[in-house]
């Protein structure tokens, strides 16, 4: 397919080859659409819903929705921004996200997306304060599922990049979680060099490499240096919610 198509995101024209998703096309055009469950090199799954956009009055996930000629996509509108904020807040309230004591703070995408969206601090919903297991069995890797946001990036990375199927979804509803392929992580062939264990794969502090905590000082961490969304045409909006 060599055909090019033209469509608009918030009025900005995007020219792209046919067959891409809205998010891919936006990325190529330098327009940032916030996301959590999607990562380069992995199949999109459209589960976190942070990347929602509006087309023709319908809300869709831009990571799975194909771009079509003539589309008018609403991305950074007040309505969509508010939905995104609420969805991000839900993730905070669902798990135990204590930034001050988390090894991932500063390189955490959940946190960075909240900053991008101008969320002061999530208190809108009740905190569920789950008591999920911590798997410290492995020599080099620790799983603290209290911080898991069910993005499934580790599942897909292990499957497609490592060819290992170390992880998979288990349970359903609010109890849906990422399970390991064995009694615990030590009983699998997980290696610290796996793509699934890479620091960039887990967007939060659920998969932690032991003896690697707080390796970058405050101010020099991944998103201290380059906040999410600041590389795009649209710079971060100053406005915040309250």
């Amino acid at each position: 397919m060599n055909a090019t198509i033209k469509f608009r995101i918030d009025g900005t024209q995007v020219v792209t080859k046919a067959g891409l998703t809205i998010m891919k096309a936006a990325d190529n055009a330098g327009i940032y659409i916030p996301r959590l469950c999607d990562e380069k090199g992995l199949e999109p799954q459209g589960s976190c819903r942070i990347c929602i956009v509006k087309i023709g009055g319908q809300i869709v996930a831009s990571c799975t929705q194909p771009a079509e000629d003539g589309l008018e996509v609403e991305n950074d509108t007040p309505e969509i921004r508010n939905y995104r904020r609420d969805l991000v807040k839900m993730l905070y309230h669902e798990g135990n996200h204590l930034c001050p004591i988390c090894e991932a703070s500063g390189r955490c995408e959940l946190q960075a997306v909240s900053y991008y969206l101008g969320i002061f601090q999530p208190t809108k919903y009740p905190y569920l304060q789950p008591d999920r297991p911590v798997d410290a069995s492995h020599r080099d890797i620790l799983l603290n599922t209290n911080r898991c946001i069910r993005c499934g990036r580790c599942i897909r990375a292990s499957k497609t990049l490592d060819g290992k199927n170390l992880f998979g979804y288990i349970g359903r509803g609010i109890h849906k979680q990422v399970g390991v392929n064995g009694e615990n992580l030590a009983n699998t062939d997980a290696k610290v060099g796996d793509a699934a264990m890479a620091l960039e794969t887990c967007p939060v502090g659920c998969i932690i490499q032991k003896r690697q905590g707080f390796f970058a000082p405050i101010g020099k961490r991944r998103f201290d240096l380059k906040p999410l969304g600041t590389n795009s045409v649209k710079q971060q909006k100053g406005g915040s919610e309250q």
């Binding site: 208190t123 905190y127 789950p130």
Partner: protein, 185 residues
Amino acid sequence: MKKRLATVSLAGCFGCHMSFLDIDERILDLVQLVEFDKSPFNDFKKFTQHCDIALIEGGCCNEENVRTLQEFRANCDILVAVGQCAIMGGLPVMRNAIMHSNDPLRECLEEAYNDSDYVYNPTNEIPNDPALPLLLDKVYNCTEVVKIDYQIPGCPPSGDTLWYALVALLKGNPYELPSELIKYD
């Protein structure tokens, strides 16, 4: 007329108060704008009169925290939750994760005073002096106990963050912070 300001640290570490002092010489500007009422800064133990703004550090983990917070709600127009602990419980809230067991509070106390490998407590006694306020069943953040008007995130919020937020509030300007000043840690 100068606004009246009160501050308090509930189940917190006084880190936010320390951070407040990081406004450095701007404290001289501040005293032009406000009169301190009940606060650790001036060691006033009681409210002298009704206040306009109160900064609350820390959440509630015992009955005294609750009483103090309710007292602040009754004596101040605007309550500002400052820092992680006040906003969402912070470090103390970690004990809520064992809330799901059958006897969570006892479990928590046993862990703290007896069971942990790092505790030396030959008498195995859990402190229980009548003067100690009773612990709550779990840690509550401030919004769960009283209505909170504003919040300033951070652990602690930087001196700058506190300064700009406070000035905006005192002058009645829109409460808008540049994103670099919003940090959760």
